[in-house]
Symmetry: C2
Subunit: 198 residues, 2 copies
């Protein structure tokens, strides 16, 4: 039978769809929410309502923010540095920001080339990247060290020929097969400092 | 710096307070919510709003439901069986229901006796249990197999002398030191079938 009525059951099922939570941990999470109704459940409910209304994708870089252009694209000091870091996903952008890589800008591809999954260049924001490139001195391809990530980097490097920007990649230091978002911040920071020209 | 504005940052911080989620998995959960805005974020927001309004504690047994008395206390067939299962926590009640233990009723203590933490009999719903006991043929003390759980069971057994109800405990089969909510459903079901008189 359902635990505690349809409202609770539905909440458990939705939470169980979050990465890192399964049905059992979702049930524990819901019981925790109910126990901490005033301190946690009501504030979380309000925060979700606000985020649903406020969150949007940056039309320039693909970052997630409550404004578009996002706060990074809107910050003129970040343009001055002339460095544009290309990432697969918003999670990677956040990881680099947490690593404190400095006054840079980003471009979120929204994935990687993957012919087997039917993901081609038009499914990623590559055209937009090519248009942005002339405004930057250096384009750092900070894609994951996976086969698809490296294929995507080669493709972008070819497309960027003639843009005038220097194209670099993160230094090895990123473990082969590893994903940026799981790296510790020191490793990420070092890998950016020791980046090499492609 | 904050990732994506104050609304997103606050959502991450609140989700990180759920059991089983830390700051990193909360960030991944929020990005997942944003990506699946229509399919997951908006339904979750609505489900939380509904649950905040609907959820209450059962004034009879301490279960969490959207009605009080809860659907278990309100079901007359469950009273006929004459079995009242005493648990520490709502999570344990849900675990027993998932195990399909049958047409029983429950009593949620809300914790265990723990003098070191300042938890005495008046902090648990023991008086209420004593008042309910005469309506039942058998009281099953399904508390965790921890020191505090067993101390609580002894205390309750003493208080139930003269109630007319037979007092039993779950069969060994519950691993010593183990917590009910982590057990597989077959073990729980077997432990209830082989329960012994105290
Ligand atoms: Zn942006
Ligand atoms: Zn009840």
């Amino acid at each position: 039978m359902a635990s505690g009525g349809p409202e609770i059951e539905q909440l458990i099922q939705l939470l169980a769809r979050l990465p890192g939570l399964g049905p059992r941990s979702a049930r524990r999470a819901v019981l925790h929410l109910i126990k901490k109704k005033d301190q946690l459940m009501i504030p979380l409910s309000a925060a979700l309502d606000r985020a649903v209304l406020a969150v949007r994708s940056c039309e320039v870089c693909g970052n997630v923010d409550t404004q578009s252009p996002c706060s990074i694209c809107a910050d003129p000091r970040r343009g001055d540095a002339g460095m544009l870091i290309v990432v697969e996903d918003v999670a990677d952008l956040w990881a680099l920001e947490r690593a404190g890589v400095g006054a840079v800008r980003y471009h979120v591809l929204g994935g990687v080339l993957s012919p087997l999954d039917g993901v081609g260049p038009d499914d990623l924001s590559i055209d937009m990247l090519i248009r942005r490139a002339p405004d930057y001195r250096e384009i750092v391809l900070a894609v994951n060290a996976t086969v698809e990530g490296q294929t995507t980097a080669h493709y972008i490097t070819d497309r960027l020929v003639g843009s005038g920007a220097k194209v670099t990649r993160l230094a090895h230091g990123v473990p082969v097969g590893g994903e940026l978002d799981y790296l510790d911040e020191g490793t990420l920071s070092q890998a950016l400092k020791a980046r090499t020209e492609i």
